[in-house]
Amino acid sequence: MLYVVIAFLCLGILLYFLLGGADFGAGIIELFTHRRNIRKTRTTMYHAIGPIWEANHMWLIIAIVILFVGFPRIYSTMSVYMHIPLVLLLIGIIARGTAFVFRHYDAVVDEMQVVYNNIFVYSSFLTPLFLGIIAGSAVSGHIDVQADNFLDAYVFSWLHWFSVAVGLFTVALCGFLAAIYLIGEAEEQDRRRFVEKALILNIVAVVCGALVFVAAQVEGVPLLEWLFGNAISFTAIVLATLSLALLWFLLGRGQGKVLRVLAGFQVTMILLAIGWAHFPDFILLRSGDHLSLLETQAPAATINALGWALVLGSVFILPALFYLFYSFQKKPIHDFEV
């Protein structure tokens, strides 16, 4: 049952990245869209994510609940030593989620919209940045449980070149995912713009990816060894690179669905490569100790109950979720009353 729980944890993180991440990306794209086109972009985006956005962000809750029920030491260690970025992440989540709903459910459209829009786009940028920072710090070995001063214990645990580079890389990937998704949603005349955006963001993502390698060298994180030191990570990196080449080739040839699958595949491979490299360790501490998913788990009774709850839950959730995606993909939402 432990492996079922771990599988759901990985699935939750992956889907949050692919679906929730694309939602963040849509806000990031809005941040870098020219004033002239912003209204169009906003409408396209709303039609794409309006009905499904609440569901997309549930994956984070699933992942966090699995952590605190199934792996309490990992949860409490992260909560203590990454308190500050977690609080900043939360502010991003609350600001973004409410601004998105408020701007569509305000009965009067006036200058308040500017406020909502600003909150929405900046928090769309900050939230994945801090998600990346947290993920980067979990494996960078900067968390020092023996630290005796505030800065070492609670600030330098997460504030360093490697985590910031991972944060920027995450932001770029989210934007890239969103641009690819929106190519399929946009009307004919706007498609060009999203293709351009996807191309630019893809280049940005590659640059940020390179930055991650540089930062890893600076901070002494053995990233190269992780990625090329085992067959699965290595294969995943090769596949991600190949799919990148294919994606560049197909971009602008109007293959909405194929592009989405490729972009999703690429991100999945990146997560797989890095995740596999230190599986089952979830947090690497400065002392050299690791918090492993196979060693810090809750007692068997809890893991069994949690596993069954997840399996039963997914029997209800997954079909309903597929039907939701399917229903709102058939026809653009603006053909219907809201």
């Binding site: 809750i61 030491r73 203590v80 609080v87 609350i94 459910y105 305000d106 009965a107 609670y154 839950g313």
Partner: protein
């Protein structure tokens, strides 16, 4: 402000706001579903417009409830990591089920909000009902987790170790049913009265009277039925607390000294130093009866507990008085309203009854906050009753007070925006939801 007090304040603040958003978000879908049902069966257009107007409210409150709930799932660890490290595996079961219920609610809400004219009308209606039912289930599950903190179960505590963990037993602890019942009825009462009161205000102002009268009736019936059932659930809870947490009951009643045929203390100002209650009305033997069903029986007082295990009396007692007082008032209004519906039809159009409902807009929520203060402050100094102290659970990180200020700023500004949005929604009723000219009301 020391770190422990700052952490407690931040948790109280976060839950205090979340409880309001969550109650409205889980109860309003039921109003919406009733109105939608009326539309599907009677084909009166006003019900469709009402359903849509309410669904905007549901969307706003669901979103704020969802993000504030997400924050809480992190804050548990950010503020109380020592507690979560031990408690997570034991009381995690309701949280993992709640994750599922919440997820289903989000999916169903997507179908409902964007599904007009797109699905079979009854399927569309059903998705609205699913929003309500799964929201209610989420609420009950979260309360079950809180009940476990009051009534620890499903593990053996041996030499500081938590052994033989049974998450199912922990979920079905002794307090879960009484607490969940009380909270659910409270949510229906508070939301019913708040919504009915707002519509009553519009009727009094003679704005879109037919539209608001339909809305008023649906919300008022839900609120009234729940408010009348609440005292029964309150009695169950009191007897249960007397059994399980005598110190909490003693603090609620400012019952300092253990005695037989103990009096019920109404109102008053407890003096914790002199161990007496000033300016209170005392009903002899009543506390013994309410707690144990017998006018003679001994009721444990605070003197049976060492000083360091006693909850704060002043706050708990006053909060309890506020909850009971407001609950009783809402029950009386409910009885009047049901009497009006049943026998005295002409009361239904009278301004005094509508004014009572307007007065009651905030009262249910004030009662909820007070009741929640009773259960949380009354459990102190424990975070996990009798096992772990709140002071031992707090995060080692210093400077929590800044985090408290930050969260206070966020919640207050968020609530201001939500109130502003609702105000604009209500003001927009004549232009968005009820544009047809008003027919003259037909006398019955």
């Amino acid at each position: 402000m020391d770190d422990l007090f700052a952490a407690r304040s931040q948790m109280a603040l976060s839950l205090g706001f979340h409880i309001i958003y969550a109650c409205i978000g889980m109860v309003m879908p039921f109003f919406m579903a009733v109105s939608h049902y009326r539309y599907l069966t009677t084909h009166q257009d006003v019900y469709k417009r009402l359903t849509k107007a309410w669904s905007k409210g549901v969307a706003i409150f669901f979103a704020t409830g969802a993000v504030s709930g997400t924050m809480l799932s992190f804050e548990l660890g950010l503020l109380w990591p020592r507690f979560m490290e031990h408690a997570g595996p034991i009381f995690g079961m309701p949280f993992s089920l709640e994750g599922t219920a919440f997820f289903i609610e989000a999916i169903a809400l997507g179908f409902f909000l964007y599904g007009w004219g797109r699905f079979n009308p009854w399927f569309h209606w059903f998705t609205g009902v699913v929003v309500g039912v799964s929201g209610l289930a989420s609420g009950i599950l979260v309360v079950a987790a809180n009940a476990w903190m009051n009534s620890p179960a499903g593990f053996d505590y041996v030499n500081g170790q938590y052994l033989n963990i049974d998450p199912i037993k922990a979920m079905f602890n002794n307090a879960w049913f009484t607490q969940a019942l009380h909270m659910t009825l409270a949510a229906f009462t508070a939301t019913g009265f708040a919504v009915a009161g707002l519509h009553a205000l519009m009727i009094l102002k003679k704005h879109n009277v037919v539209f608001h009268a339909k809305a008023f009736k649906i919300a008022a019936i839900f609120g009234a039925v729940a408010a009348i059932l609440q005292p029964i659930s309150g009695d169950l809870s009191a007897k249960d607390v007397a059994q399980r947490q005598p110190a909490k009951l003693a603090a609620m009643e400012a019952h300092f000294h253990t005695e037989k045929s103990a009096p019920l203390v109404l109102g008053g100002l407890p003096d914790e130093g002199k161990k007496q209650v000033n300016y209170a009305i005392k009903i002899p033997g009543m506390l013994s009866f309410l707690a144990h069903g017998n006018f003679e029986q001994e009721v444990t007082g605070l003197d049976k507990f060492p000083k360091e295990d006693q909850p704060p009396v002043l706050v708990t007692h006053i909060a309890f008085q506020i909850m009971v007082g407001l609950g009783s008032f809402l029950m009386l209004v409910s009885l009047l309203y049901l009497l009006a519906l049943w026998k005295k039809k002409k009361w239904l159009y009278s301004t005094w009854l509508l004014r009572l409902f307007v007065l009651a807009i905030p009262l249910g929520f004030i009662a909820i906050e007070a009741g929640w203060t009773v259960t949380e402050v009354g459990r102190q100094p424990w975070i996990l009753y009798g096992i772990m102290r709140t002071a031992d659970a707090v995060t080692p990180m210093p400077g929590i007070v800044y985090s408290f200020y930050l969260f206070a700023g966020i919640y207050f500004s968020l609530s201001l925006v939500v109130a502003y949005l609702l105000y604009r929604q209500i003001k927009a009723v004549p232009t968005l939801y009820d544009v047809t000219p008003e027919p003259t009301p037909v006398a019955h």
